[in-house]
């Protein structure tokens, strides 16, 4: 109750402050308009909105339905057959790690109409829902499963009578995160082109018009839609499953114990790496995409290493990478460092945490990266904007993950050092910092794909440098080989980064007697 009142008070203070800043043109000479001005502009533009909102909604909803249907079916399959889960590991990690913006142009090239948007929205849903399904299904009460088995029930009976129902809270938790992800996916696909309507299209179209209140109006509308989608599933979850536990974004592809010989394990791992390539190839053949546009894995090797123009392609790609990689790393580390320090600060001053946590949770549901034009407005088109976008998209999920990790430290563990007279700093050093290490790694896993996404979007829309810009330029030059190459390279970078983190984590944590967290 008091928590809620404090929340409301903070909101009012924030709005008043914002109004004041806007009225006085204090931020970037008017780039941050007052809320009242934004609302008036929204009202003036009210005739423009319906087709855009409807287009984005349509793609989001379709993608949400398709993506989650596939995710739930896949989750059930993975639990029934751990071999299938191992085979799909490569696909799962790729989908987790891929920066949506990188494959947006490829989708627009190979698919038509609304389909690219639906696919990107569906991809945004797949991972969280699939992971939540697998977790929910495998965490069903073992004793209830025994009862079913004791009456001769097989795997399918256990699934039907116990697991599916007991996984419901977890699955609804997954859907809650998937809902705003679908909106984000749809908007990012709109950035890739195709179609006249959609909030993303509207946002891009308004970017050049020097009309900050309009941009803010679109951004707030997108945020509102994503927030409502999240809230709808939060309420549904509470209602159906009585599940009100805070849901965090999964940061690892699920795995189940299986008994395989060494040889079988190696073969499965190789098959898991091959599967995404095979699927890619099959999709292109199956869709009958014209040779000129489509690039198979072999086509990309040809483009990058064998063709006459390979030298020029390589040098352009390397130049772009030299721009993108350092700033991705810098933004990633800065976002993580801020998150870590703030989480520790919250541990020292819990009252701060109580007011920050809701804000951090809310921002998780915002299609932050889709609001890049707003940041461009505020920060201009230099490198600073890239850095800030990257920090803003990596900071919040990292903060939530680390802070929740620290909160999970049992009270008595904190009180032992205190009982021996340890001060706050010593307590941090002895308990909170070591305890948060596994969560720091989890946050890193979560932040890697986001950092790359943030940098590429900033490059695409604002700075005109690096991988994002190369992708955007190649669209203009109809350089299909480069469009495909950038998409593949971006996904590979994200996957390799992710695997490096996991590799390091598996070396470091056990040595300190810790285990990894999901």
């Amino acid at each position: 109750m008091t928590l809620r009142a404090g929340w409301l008070r903070n909101l009012v203070i924030l709005l008043a402050l914002w109004e004041l800043l806007g009225r006085l043109h204090l931020v970037a000479s008017g780039a941050l308009p007052a809320p009242s001005v934004i609302l008036l502009k929204l009202w003036a533009d009210r005739a423009d909105y319906p087709p855009h909102v409807l287009a984005t909604l349509e793609a989001s909803i379709l993608g949400f339905l398709v993506g989650n249907a596939i995710a739930i079916a896949a989750g059930v399959l993975f639990v029934l057959s751990p071999v299938a889960l191992r085979l799909a590991r490569g696909v799962n990690i790729a989908i987790f790690a891929l920066p949506p913006i990188a494959i947006s142009p490829v989708l627009v090239l190979t698919l038509s109409g609304m389909t690219p948007r639906v696919v990107l929205a569906a991809l945004g849903c797949y991972f969280t829902t699939m992971t939540a399904t697998v977790l929910g299904l495998t965490q069903a009460d073992a004793r209830s499963l025994d009862v079913v088995r004791a009456y001769g029930g097989g795997r399918w009976s256990m699934m039907r009578l116990v697991q599916l129902r007991s996984a419901l809270p977890s699955m609804l938790g997954g859907l809650r995160i998937a809902a705003p992800n679908a909106v984000l996916g749809a908007i990012l696909a709109e950035f890739g082109g195709g179609g006249r309507f959609g909030l993303g299209t509207y946002l891009l179209g308004s970017l050049g018009r020097a009309d900050p209140p309009r941009l803010w109006g679109i951004g707030l509308t997108a945020t509102l839609i994503a927030g409502l989608a999240y809230a709808a599933f939060a309420i549904l979850g509470n209602h159906i499953a009585g599940a009100s536990r805070a849901v965090t974004i999964p940061a690892a592809a699920p795995s189940l114990p299986g008994r395989h010989s060494r040889l079988a394990s190696i073969l499965l791992a190789l098959a898991a790496i091959a599967l995404p390539l095979v699927l890619w190839w099959l999709l292109l053949k199956g869709l009958g995409v014209p040779e000129m546009i489509a690039r198979t894995p072999a086509g990309i090797i040809d483009y990058l290493f064998l063709a006459d123009s390979a030298g020029s392609a390589q040098s352009r790609l390397l130049a772009a990478l030299a721009e993108t990689l350092p700033i991705t790393l810098a933004g990633l580390l800065a976002g993580l460092a801020f998150a870590f320090m703030l989480a520790l600060l919250v541990d020292v001053a819990p009252a701060l945490g109580r007011s920050l946590m809701p804000v951090a949770l809310v921002t998780q549901t915002m299609p932050l990266v889709a609001l890049t034009p707003l940041l461009v407005l505020l920060l201009g088109r230099g490198t600073a904007v890239t850095l800030w976008i990257t920090i803003s998209v990596t900071f919040f999920p990292s903060f939530v993950t680390i802070a929740q990790g620290i909160m999970m430290v049992p009270r008595p563990a904190l009180e032992v050092p205190r009982a021996y007279g340890a001060g706050k700093l010593k307590e941090l050093r002895l308990v909170a910092i070591p305890a948060s290490l596994p969560y720091l790694f989890a946050a890193l896993r979560l932040a890697v794909p986001r950092a790359l996404l943030g940098v590429m979007i900033a490059e695409w829309l604002a700075t005109g440098k690096g991988l994002g810009n190369l992708l955007n330029q190649s669209r203009g030059y109809l350089d299909y080989g480069m469009i495909w190459t950038v998409a593949v390279v971006a996904v590979l970078i994200a996957v390799v980064f992710h695997q490096v983190v996991i590799f390091t984590e598996r070396r470091v944590l056990p040595r300190l007697g810790m285990t990894t967290v999901e």
């Binding site: 004793r143 025994d146 009862v147 009456y151 001769g152 029930g153 009578l161 116990v162 129902r165």
Partner: protein, 256 residues
């Protein structure tokens, strides 16, 4: 499932690996329960009683030895729908009401619930849950949940009944009542019953034979026959002969 309702364990051994170390939970256990008999299994905690039951239900596989329910292997017997089981933990599904929880075995073996309406009502009455048919497990006390799980074990009118400390969570008074009810149910159904318990008086009151186990490794120490005529009245609990036999079992347990 006409025919043989016997249970037989032949040289059954089972070991587990815990924290990298293998230890023997059951070592060469042989035992026969003739059709229609009531066997009580008693022994110190951790001696492998539950493990033995789980093997008989096909929930785990023995390392060595053979288990038969009639002529069938455990998994075949349970799939035929002639076995019933209640575990120490009621393990009710929290989203099903009492009625639907009792009907769970029917859903597993694929029998229509409608054909068992009367049976379910009768069982609910029997275990004293009348009026709670539509309650969810979360709304019941521990003892009530336990009684629902016993009703669930009986719903298919099983020819073979496995009970793993089913009355462990009940208070002494209710426990006595349930003992007397169980005797009646058993006499009516002639189900071959294997009851795991840590209550010596319960074992002696209900069983034809009390099998006493010892631990580390789990083995059968002795088998004590219970000669009392049936039906056994509740006055038996206070008779000197009953106490004398209780003492025999106690000695076997602690002297073993």
């Amino acid at each position: 499932m006409a025919g043989d309702r016997s249970i037989s364990f032949r040289n059954v051994s089972k070991s587990f690996v815990a924290r990298g170390e293998r230890f023997t939970a059951l070592d060469d256990v042989s035992m026969d329960c003739p059709p229609g008999s009531f066997t009580a299994l008693i022994g110190p905690s951790g001696c492998g009683k539950s493990t033995l039951l789980r093997l008989a239900l096909g929930l785990d596989q023995p390392d060595r030895g053979d288990i038969r329910i009639g002529r069938l292997a455990p998994r075949e017997a349970t799939a035929s729908g002639d076995t019933g089981v209640a575990f120490q933990d009621p393990a009710l599904l929290p989203w099903r009401n009492v009625e639907a929880n009792i009907a769970l075995p029917l859903d597993v073996i694929g029998k229509p619930r409608s054909a068992f309406r009367d049976r379910i009502a009768e069982l609910i009455d029997l275990v004293g849950l009348k009026g709670f048919e539509k309650s969810l497990p979360g709304e019941l006390s521990g003892g009530m949940r336990q009684r629902a799980s016993i009703a669930r074990a009986l719903v298919t009118r099983p020819g073979i009944l496995f009970l793993d400390e089913p009355f462990g969570a009940l208070d002494q008074i209710l426990r006595r009542q349930m003992n007397i009810e169980l005797q009646r149910i058993w006499a009516d159904s002639k189900a071959t019953t294997l009851l795991v318990t840590h209550g010596i008086d319960e074992a002696v009151f209900l069983a034809d034979r009390v099998v006493v186990m010892q631990s580390r490794p789990g083995r059968i120490a002795t088998v004590i026959d219970v000669p009392f005529a049936r039906p056994r009245p509740k006055e038996l609990f206070t008779s000197p002969a009953f106490h004398a036999l209780n003492d025999v079992v106690t000695t076997a347990l602690h002297g073993a």
